[in-house]
């Protein structure tokens, strides 16, 4: 296993360097540079353009710029933004990251939870109206033109019914005199979610040692209730609570929209994986042995059908970091996707490269995790490798 991971790490490193090189030359292949922003204003003299180019190092040969870039990335320095000069790129990315993580992680987790359950159920209830209805719904949601769907959701729930805000992640009126920045609140929300997740994990870890089912269940419920109460008390007394609530309220519509679309894909994936599993011999064996249907579905079939879904989930975490340019634009959610879009539009090469390098790196890590998970979950892969 160690050798397997070592080999994958080496491949990852090489691939990352190649990725950075392609990225650099591809982005620099765009005609012009950021100094062209002055072209449209006849009042700005050409000297201004030259001063800007010199300040940003754009008057240097491209290869020299490339060497500088690689050196900087390897020393974890992503440089300064052209468009937000002289702000460091890392600061801009770190500013956008929690917002993207919060929105897309929530949507991804929800869609996997709901999608897996639905997929499992419809595979089990094959050729019933429930399956047909769910399949038609899922296919519609999976194939819907997403920008149109998102605007429709915004119009219907935000404007027509007035149930939710029309985009953005906060209500300015509530934040004018806030002692906190939105990112401090986002970070606290993410941190508390992480702590809760760790505590839940710990509860399961410690209680699984209890052999008897009933005491185990009781212990779990008690400990989980304590975690829940702790979280509630924390947010009730936190001075950040009103701001967190405002963000949570603004999250509902984009998360619902994203979840509906993501969930459809997971449902379809789980269903087909389940259907394949249900044809396996061990399912027939279990039935022949008289194992209850619910146990066959949940413990025999669903657990094995989980393998491709788990891989898809891990890989989607990398996509989460990239965010969604369309989602962030329509819901005015200034995360990494919108940062990347603005950077490319403004020819802010360092920010665009930084964002893409970051996303690329996380995609590689996600692939590594997926590979390891696969190897852990499916011993045949370990044996073959």
């Amino acid at each position: 296993m160690v050798r397997f991971i070592g080999k994958r790490l080496l491949q990852m490193g090489l691939l990352f360097i190649v990725f950075l090189t392609i990225l650099f030359f591809l982005l620099n292949a765009q005609p012009g540079d950021i100094s062209q922003q002055f072209v449209g204003n006849p009042d700005i003299p050409p000297e201004a353009k030259e001063i800007l180019r010199a300040r940003l190092g754009l008057d240097q040969p491209l290869f020299f710029q490339y060497l500088n870039y690689v050196k900087n990335v390897l020393t974890l320095n992503l440089g300064q933004s052209f468009d937000h000069f002289p702000r460091p790129v890392s600061e801009i990315l770190l500013q956008a990251l929690p917002r993207t993580l919060y929105l897309f992680l929530t949507a991804t987790l929800l869609s996997y939870l709901v999608g897996f359950q639905t997929g499992k159920l419809v595979a089990w209830k094959r050729d019933t109206p429930i399956e047909r209805f769910t399949m038609v719904g899922s296919i519609i949601l999976y194939t819907v033109f997403y920008p149109w769907f998102a605007i429709l959701m915004l119009w219907f729930f935000g404007s027509k019914l007035g149930l939710f805000p029309l985009g953005k992640f906060l209500d300015p009126e509530k934040w004018f005199d806030s002692p906190y920045t939105a990112n401090q609140v986002f970070n606290m929300m993410l941190l508390s979610a992480l702590v809760a997740a760790i505590l839940v994990g710990a509860v399961y870890w410690f209680t699984h040692k209890i052999v008897e089912p009933k005491p185990r269940q009781r212990a779990r419920r008690l400990l989980l209730a304590l975690v829940a109460i702790g979280m509630v008390v924390f947010w009730m007394v936190s001075p950040m609570s009103q701001y967190a609530a405002d963000i949570a309220y603004h999250t509902i519509l984009p998360v619902t929209t994203l979840t509906l679309v993501f969930y459809a894909a997971i449902t379809l994936l789980t269903r087909s994986s389940m259907l394949e599993t249900l044809r396996e011999d061990y399912i027939f064996t279990a039935r022949a042995k008289g194992v209850p249907e619910k146990v066959i579905r949940d413990r025999h079939a669903a657990r094995n059908a989980l393998l491709p879904v788990t891989t898809s989930f891990v890989l989607s975490i990398a996509a989460v970091i990239g965010g969604g340019i369309v989602t962030e634009s329509i819901f005015s959610w200034p995360g990494l996707g919108l940062t990347l879009l603005n950077a490319v539009t403004a020819e802010d090469i360092p920010v665009a490269m930084g964002a893409l390098a970051f996303i690329g790196f996380l995609a590689l890590v996600a692939h590594l995790i997926a590979d390891i998970l696969y190897a852990v979950l499916d011993p045949r892969i370990r044996v073959e490798s």
Partner: protein, 674 residues
């Protein structure tokens, strides 16, 4: 995972967390009320309550066209929707490399200048200065201007704005080598013409500028006189530190202006932002121009606080208003998408959508149908044009350009093809710039082209080409009814058959109007026997081909782009676009066509040598230049679109008919009422 979700304890936990959030959300309402009231107190002395009843004096309208500041309740939040965030809170960076139109909306009204362009009449009027711009005086081999300043003008903290602030701004720009618009405002480089070599404080309220050569009206007051003045007190330490550093510009641009307590001299002051969500300005309660009265007369005259600054006064009033600020704060709410901004406007979430880009027909219709919205449609200070490359055939032949001018039916293009969303142009000065527009001349030029049918156009174009020495492989044929069959294979006067001519235009995704125009122009060129190809080209690619850099060869055939024309109160764009000294290959300047005409250059130089007090002479020079250009046609000016803006009926602007719309005045934060 399944088990986890099904577990009742987990479900209970999720439920409790949600309940906690809801409880927190409910308790936050009462807290908000408290904080908002506190903020109003912080923002200044104005008290904000729901029952604010204080009103400003309404100005009587004396003419049907007059728009006035309505009786207004003071103390409100003016909410503007914006589709892009600002990239910095630093005013130096805004005028420098980070300058965007969105930065202008936020920071434009925060810094004063000696003089200001007063809208809607586009008159140069004193702001910090006393009286009209001082005249340049020759002192040995330099020219100086000594300008008096108001002793009562203060920054937002109440400290006086003095000549030392003006000197500080100039020396910072010069010593730190700041770029962007700072160079045009304070032309300190030795390549500047004329170079601003020194600015000194004669006393606290008198400032003296020294230029290496004569500063014409375009420079004084229209660049240096209207340049922003920065407060010395909060910035002095940063600038000193910057000048001792390796890259002074980076240190100055990188400073957090909010943290160091930057001051305002305008009606509002920047008060922070939440990146990607909103930007906040608050009223400057110490604003020195608060209550100032402005009257514009139909005859072009302008009166400020009862004193006449331009024209002879009297007659019907075009616009009369008072300066505020009447608001407590401006909130710029940021939307990632135009559709979301329009939804927010129609829902009353924002008062006005401040938007430099114009709206798509769908959103425009949505705005027109919304009952709570008013609309303002205004001409813009710009134009879209077809440019030739005069360095090579066939663009270098005057008759070729003239023939194409005959063929392009702008009326048909704008009314029939573009469905009336654009209006045709025949001269460069925009019709909306009433102070400088010559209606008679423009109509005379238009009369040459308007109303011609296609056959007549083709006939005139062919005759022009023949007169210029062009021939065809297959000549055009006119039948007995006078209908012309186009020629094939145009050959230039040097005997060379024209190769395919490329028309570069931005793609439909960037600007459908220019993309469509290019296709029609391609068709009209083909009727002249020219193999033409409209090529949708990325904006940056067009720019890179048209302005490839000093010393590079410029090889394009034709392109379609547009210009925004800068300061409308003293137009200098003719010189920027067509003077020989601004050739793209030698100066990286605005003259991309390679146009060079000694007579035109002389006119442009003459215009630059005129003082601001010689506006009539400047006007004449501009129209002499226009006469040369409509004859020589380095550009064929095509059309422009009006800017359509929507705002809720709750807000009142002192006027809405103004060049480039309300957005050009940063949403009129200093005058808007609600």
């Amino acid at each position: 995972m399944t088990r986890l979700w099904r577990n009742r304890s987990v479900a209970l936990m999720v439920l409790l967390v949600v309940l906690a959030m809801v409880a927190a959300a409910c308790t936050s309402d009462s807290d908000d009320t408290t904080t908002t009231t506190a903020a109003a107190g912080d923002g200044g002395e104005t008290t904000t309550t729901a029952a604010a009843t204080e009103t400003t004096e309404a100005t009587e309208a004396t003419d049907a066209t007059t728009t006035t500041a309505a009786a207004a309740a003071t103390g409100f939040t003016y909410t503007l929707g914006m589709t892009s965030d600002i990239v910095s809170n630093n005013y130096w960076a805004y005028i420098g490399p980070d300058g965007t139109v969105y930065m202008q909306y936020v920071f434009g009204p925060t810094k004063p200048s000696l003089f200001t362009i007063q809208y809607p009449g586009l008159i140069v009027a004193p702001d910090v200065a006393v009286g009209l711009p001082a005249e340049p005086v020759e002192e040995g081999d330099v020219w100086t201007i000594t300008q008096s300043m108001r002793p009562d003008y203060v920054w937002s903290d109440g400290s006086p704005l003095t000549a030392h602030d003006v000197v500080f701004t100039y020396t910072t720009v010069r010593d730190a080598g700041l770029g962007g618009d700072w160079i045009s405002a304070y032309p300190y480089t030795d390549t500047s013409e004329p170079q601003l070599t020194n600015v000194e404080a004669v006393d606290d309220y008198t400032v003296k500028y020294t230029y290496a050569s004569f500063p014409g009206g375009a420079v004084w007051p229209h660049n240096t006189g209207v340049a922003s003045i920065m407060p010395k007190a909060p910035w002095e330490a940063i600038v000193t530190e910057a000048l001792a550093s390796e890259d002074p510009g980076a240190t100055i641009y990188g400073a957090d202006a909010f943290e160091i307590g930057d001051l305002s001299g305008g009606p509002v002051n920047y008060n922070g932002r939440e990146e990607g969500a909103f930007v906040e300005n608050v009223a400057n309660t110490a604003y020195s121009n608060a209550g100032m009265e402005h009257i514009f007369y139909v005859n072009g005259s302008y009166e400020q606080n009862g004193q006449l600054y331009f024209g002879e006064g009297g007659g019907d009033v075009l616009s009369a208003y008072k300066d505020g600020p009447f608001l407590d704060r401006t909130a710029f709410s940021i939307y990632g998408d135009q559709a979301a901004a329009m939804l927010a406007l129609a829902d009353g979430e924002i008062d006005y959508w401040i938007n430099p880009l114009g709206v798509s027909p769908g959103l425009r219709q949505q705005g027109l149908e919304a009952e709570n919205l008013d609309v303002a449609v205004n001409p813009t200070n710009g134009f879209r044009y077809l440019a030739f490359n005069l360095r090579k055939s066939p663009g270098k032949f005057l008759e070729y350009r003239q023939a194409l001018a005959y063929m392009i039916d702008k009326e048909f293009l704008t009314k029939n093809v573009l469905q009336g969303v654009a209006f045709p142009l025949y001269v460069l000065v925009p019709e909306g710039n009433q102070a400088w527009y010559n209606e008679e001349f423009a109509e005379e030029v238009a009369a040459k082209y308007v109303g011609l049918d296609e056959n007549t156009r083709l006939q005139l174009a062919n005759e022009t080409l023949v007169a210029g020495g062009f021939t065809w492989e297959t000549d055009p044929v006119t039948d007995e009814d006078g209908v012309i069959t186009p020629g094939v294979g145009l050959i230039d006067p040097d005997g060379v058959k024209l190769v395919q001519q490329e028309i570069m235009a931005p793609p439909a995704s960037y600007d459908p109007l220019r993309a469509t125009a290019a296709l029609w122009i391609e068709g009209w060129m083909e009727k002249l026997g020219i193999d033409a190809k409209a090529n949708p080209t990325d904006f940056n690619t067009i720019v890179a081909k048209v302005w490839p850099g000093i010393g590079e060869e410029i090889t394009f055939d034709t392109y379609i782009l547009g210009w925004s024309l800068g300061n409308p109160a003293w137009p200098t764009f003719h010189e920027s676009f067509f003077h020989t000294r601004h050739w793209a290959e030698t100066d990286d300047g605005g003259n991309a066509t390679g146009y060079s005409d000694a007579e035109f250059d002389q006119l442009a130089d003459d215009m630059f040598a005129l003082k601001v007090s010689e506006q009539d002479a400047a006007y004449d020079k501009i129209w002499e230049m226009e006469a040369k250009l409509v004859e020589d046609l380095p550009y064929i000016v095509l059309f422009d679109t009006p800017i359509t803006e929507f705002f809720t009926k709750d807000v009142t602007f002192p006027f809405t008919s103004t060049l480039s719309g309300i957005q050009a005045l940063a949403g009129m934060q200093g005058n808007v009422a609600k």
